[in-house]
Each structure stands twice: as structure tokens, then as C-alpha cells.
């Protein structure tokens, strides 16, 4: 009876047994009905705002993998960037969207952690020296369940609207793996919402999605990481300069 293949199989929540705060920070976190609904309302509401107020346009949506896990990388010039990225995703995959957010900003206080975990569905990532810490866990999640990470490889928001160079952290995450990385360029977010301003201006916004890349052959060392960061930065920059030209390479 014990080996009967037709027996019921229980798969408890992957984060079962963690105290509330540890659960919110856990990469194994699984959402219930409350956070799933709150999140859907949050992202869809913002998506509607950007589409109407900022006439958000999405170019190259056909490049998005139709299923499975992948990582979106983009330039980061405004708080609106993350909303623009979710708006670019098809509705049915929005539940899998997980922004990788700075631990020191979004996960420092219980209230903010609650918001980041339950509304944004964010996961904490360390910045600077400890950046590799927790990458194994973050990669593991991609395999456990369909997950779409959003990551801004520059590691910080540009304060003047200029393009900040990508850091090698993204390389450490994906070097020598099968993980697909989708470069995206966000245009107009800085004009719509600058630092220190509260109101969103009706500036036109465009998200351009490029062809996915896989870095299976890149070595998992400093050279490989730097090369990956450079390749992705070039991709994103190219998307920004020529938003209408599709790049059929790869």
C-alpha cells in the first residue's frame, strides 16, 4: 500500500513552518489567495495607469519565452520601471513575476517587508560585497516552480536618467546555467517619474523586449561574469537606440 502509485500525494507549501517574518524573506515562499489577489490587483492597476496615462507601448513581446522560468533584465531610471516590466508580461504569467529587490531597502523593516513580500512578491538580494549570498537559493526557485525574475543589473536607480553600467552580479547568477535572460529596454520612465518628484507626468513610455540569451558556455568566474554583464548591457543599449528593429540573432 505504501508504494501504491495511486496513493494521495501531499505537497505542503514549500515555506511551511517558517515564522511569519522569515517566510516573507524566504525564496521558497508560496502565496495564498490573499496575497495572490492583492498582487494581481496591484500590478494590473498599475499596468492600466501606465497604459492610459503614459500610453505605454510594448515592442517585441514575441521574444518572451512562452513557459518556464526566466530572468528579465533592464535599465533602471525610475520607480516606474518595475511596473512597466509587469505591464509587458501577459496576464497569465504575471502571477509568476518576482522582482529581485535590494535587501537593505525593501526588507529592512517588518511593514516594508510585508509590502515587498505580499504585494510586490519581491525577493531580497544583497548588494555590494555579499551579492553572491543567496544566489543558490534564488536559482533553485527557478527550477522548483515557474518564476519570472526582474533584475536591474546596474544595482541602483540612475538619478539623472543616464544609463548606468551593468555590474557583474547578473553574471554570477546565470553563468554556466540554462537560465534564459531576456534583455528589456525601458524608455520614458525617467521623464514620467523622476527622483524627488511625487506626481507621475504623462510622458510616453515604451518597453522593448529583446531576444533571450543563455550563458551555458560562459565560465563561472570573474571573466565570464564581466562578459555576461557586458553582453547584456550592449543588448539593452541596442534595444534603446533602435526600438523598432528586431534582432534575429541567437
Amino acid at each position: 500500500m505504501a508504494d501504491d502509485p495511486d496513493q494521495w500525494k501531499y505537497e505542503p507549501a514549500h515555506d511551511l513552518g517558517l515564522p511569519p517574518l522569515a517566510r516573507m524573506r524566504s525564496h521558497r515562499r508560496e502565496a495564498g489567495l490573499f496575497s495572490a489577489s492583492a498582487r494581481l490587483a496591484w500590478w494590473t492597476g498599475w499596468s492600466a495607469v501606465l497604459r492610459v496615462w503614459n500610453r505605454l507601448r510594448v515592442v517585441g513581446r514575441e521574444h518572451l519565452p512562452s513557459s518556464g522560468s526566466y530572468i528579465l533584465v533592464a535599465n533602471h531610471e525610475s520607480h516606474l520601471d518595475v511596473f512597466a516590466l509587469t505591464a509587458a508580461l501577459p496576464m497569465r504569467t504575471r502571477a509568476h513575476f518576482v522582482p529581485l529587490s535590494a535587501e537593505d531597502v525593501f526588507f529592512d523593516r517588518p511593514t516594508r517587508t510585508f509590502f515587498a513580500a505580499h504585494i510586490l512578491n519581491a525577493l531580497p538580494v544583497r548588494r555590494g560585497a555579499g551579492v553572491r549570498h543567496g544566489f543558490a537559493a534564488i536559482r533553485e526557485r527557478l527550477l522548483i516552480e515557474p518564476t519570472i525574475y526582474a533584475l536591474f543589473p546596474a544595482g541602483e536607480r540612475s538619478r539623472d536618467g543616464g544609463f548606468l553600467p551593468f555590474r557583474s552580479g547578473i553574471g554570477m547568477l546565470v553563468a554556466s546555467t540554462d537560465i534564459a535572460v531576456v534583455p528589456c529596454h525601458i524608455e520614458g520612465a525617467f521623464e514620467a517619474l523622476r527622483p524627488q518628484t511625487k506626481l507621475i507626468r504623462p510622458a510616453r513610455m515604451t518597453v522593448t523586449i529583446g531576444a533571450p540569451r543563455v550563458f551555458k558556455d560562459e565560465p563561472d568566474n570573474r571573466e565570464g561574469w564581466d562578459r555576461i554583464a557586458a553582453v547584456l548591457e550592449r543588448d539593452v543599449r541596442a534595444l534603446g537606440h533602435e526600438p523598432f528593429v528586431e534582432e534575429p540573432k541567437l
Binding site: E11, P12, G17, G32
Partner: protein, 322 residues
């Protein structure tokens, strides 16, 4: 106004039993904290144990404050608190069994529990009873369009079990607010069930002896179980003589029956939830309440008692809710 009966606070302390039980609950907390501090000063409890005791007692204070406030503030808040308890209990159950991943079932269960609460609030007992089969039918059909026959019986079975145990059975607490002295009744119900657990623990520890059902719950003994039935029945008879004075429920034989049935239902709730945990292979349902585990770990023995109490009262005193 028809909703006035939901939010009447002014009569909270009209019932002397409510005054007394509130005073006793507050006194118990003060005594508990004082005892913990004294034991610490005397060096009886090690720092580790002291911290554990403090965490548990602080959690208890919060639970008592929430339960007490909900019951004292009136029927509306009591029913709302029962609804929240139902939802949290189902959440623990669904996360442990994995059925929470099927969103459509969670939505139906949630709406069903809200409907039960509305039926309680409206004193519409017939709707309450009709909702259980209706929701079960809806749960049975809602996942058909997914076109995933694999695991169909499991997910539907789990959702129905969750709804009936934590929605219907626990929801009777809300329906019981449609009795004249519901505040005292609910306070006594909760107190008797918690004491039932404590009686079983103390008698079992003192007398020892053979285990009750060791595969399900390793700690429970036959002596503890029988001891709890006897002591809880005595408690129910003594309290019931005050609570049900001047009604048919107040007779000795009825109260003895009520005591025995409540004690057994309390223990079965505890053991039933233990069976679920053993089957899945987990120790606790969650870790939401510091020192106690999940909501379901704390309130497991409360789940099966409300329907027993309701139907005995309804049978003896005449149907509730017209």
C-alpha cells in the same frame, strides 16, 4: 433597526457570569505572569525555559484579549472573529495539504465561509444548514473545467473536508450567538475545551498507563482521556447549573450528557487534526503564534465541539433560530 442586535455592547456585563468569567480570565493572566517571574527569581526555571514560558503566556494574552473583545463587543464582532478563525484554520490546512495551489477551490471555500457568517449574522439557521451541501456541490464541480482529472478526487476531497471542518463545524460558534446568554455560553465553551486539554495532560502525566492511540499521538494516555471526560463533565455540570438555570438544559442528566459529549468531541478534534499532521508528515501546521505553532495547532480541540453543543441545546430546549 434589524442590524442593531449585531452591535449591542451595552448589555455585555448584564450577565453576572460574563462579569465573573472576565474577572477570572484577567486574574489568571496576572497570576500566570507573576508565577513565571517568581519562579525565575527563585531560580527554579532556567533562562531558556523562562523565555519559552513568557513567549507562550504573551501569546495567550493576545489570544484572550482578541477573543474576549470579540465576544464582549457583541454578536457582529463575534461572528466576524469566527469567520477570521475559519479562514485562518482553512489556510493552515490548505497550505499543509497543498490544496491551496488550486485557487478556484480556495475562492469557493472563502466565499462559502463568508456566506455562513452572513447566515449566522442574519439568524437564518436554515440557510446555514443549506449552505454546507450547496458549497460541497460547488467544490465538486468547480475544478472540472481545468481538465486535470489526475488528482481530482484528492483536491476536491481535501477542499470539502476543509470546508466542513473549519467552515461548517467551527462556524457553529457564530450560530450559537443566536441564544439568549451567548456571551457566557461561548466563554464557557472555550474555557471548558481548553481545560479539557489541560485535564487530559495533567491526569495522563500523573497516572500514566497505556497509550490511547500511539500512532496518532504519542503522548496521549487512556487514563488522561478518561480523566478529562470525568473532570470536564463535572465542570460542565457545575457551570451548566448556572448557565442553563430555568431551562430544560439545566437538568442533571442532560448536563452530564453534554459534558461527556463535549469532552469526547474536544479530544476527537485534537486527535483528528493530529491524524492529518501524521498523514502529511509535519509536526505543526504553521508557526504563526509564537510558542504555539499555527492557528490550527492552537484551536484543534475547539473544532468539533460547537456543532455538538448547538444540536444538544436545539434538541433539548427546542429548535434555535425559529
Amino acid at each position: 433597526m434589524t442590524v442593531q442586535h449585531l452591535f449591542t455592547v451595552s448589555d455585555a456585563f448584564d450577565d453576572p457570569l460574563v462579569v465573573w468569567s472576565t474577572a477570572v480570565a484577567c486574574a489568571l493572566l496576572v497570576v500566570a505572569f507573576a508565577a513565571i517571574q517568581v519562579l525565575r527569581r527563585l531560580g527554579v526555571t532556567a533562562p531558556e525555559l523562562h523565555r519559552e514560558l513568557m513567549v507562550r503566556t504573551i501569546s495567550w494574552s493576545w489570544l484572550l484579549a482578541i477573543i474576549g473583545a470579540a465576544i464582549l463587543l457583541g454578536r457582529g464582532t463575534t461572528i466576524l472573529a469566527v469567520l477570521v478563525l475559519s479562514l485562518l484554520a482553512y489556510r493552515d490546512f490548505a497550505r499543509a495539504t497543498g490544496v491551496f495551489r488550486v485557487r478556484s477551490l480556495s475562492i469557493v471555500v472563502t466565499l462559502g465561509m463568508i456566506a455562513l457568517a452572513c447566515a449566522s449574522a442574519d439568524r437564518w439557521h436554515r440557510l446555514y444548514f443549506a449552505l454546507t451541501p450547496l458549497v460541497i456541490v460547488l467544490l465538486a464541480v468547480i475544478t472540472i473545467p481545468r481538465d486535470e482529472p489526475r488528482g481530482f478526487v484528492q483536491r476536491v476531497g481535501l477542499a470539502i473536508m476543509g470546508f466542513v471542518l473549519f467552515g461548517t463545524a467551527l462556524g457553529y460558534l457564530g450560530l450559537l450567538t443566536d441564544t439568549p446568554r451567548y456571551r457566557a455560553l461561548l466563554i464557557f465553551l472555550i474555557a471548558a475545551i481548553q481545560l479539557n486539554d489541560i485535564f487530559a495532560f495533567i491526569v495522563g502525566r500523573t497516572l500514566g498507563g497505556p497509550k490511547l492511540i500511539p500512532n496518532t499521538s504519542s503522548g496521549k494516555t487512556i487514563s488522561g482521556s478518561v480523566g478529562a471526560v470525568i473532570l470536564t463533565t463535572i465542570l460542565v455540570v457545575v457551570l451548566g447549573r448556572f448557565l442553563f438555570a430555568d431551562t430544560l438544559m439545566g437538568s442533571w442528566t442532560t448536563l452530564i450528557g453534554l459534558g461527556v459529549a463535549s469532552s469526547i468531541a474536544g479530544q476527537l478534534g485534537d486527535l483528528g487534526l493530529s491524524s492529518i499532521k501524521r498523514d502529511i508528515g509535519i509536526k505543526d501546521f504553521a508557526a504563526a503564534i509564537p510558542g504555539h505553532g499555527g492557528v490550527l495547532d492552537r484551536f484543534d480541540s475547539l473544532i468539533l465541539v460547537p456543532p455538538v453543543l448547538y444540536h444538544i441545546i436545539s434538541f433539548v430546549n427546542g429548535p434555535l433560530g425559529g
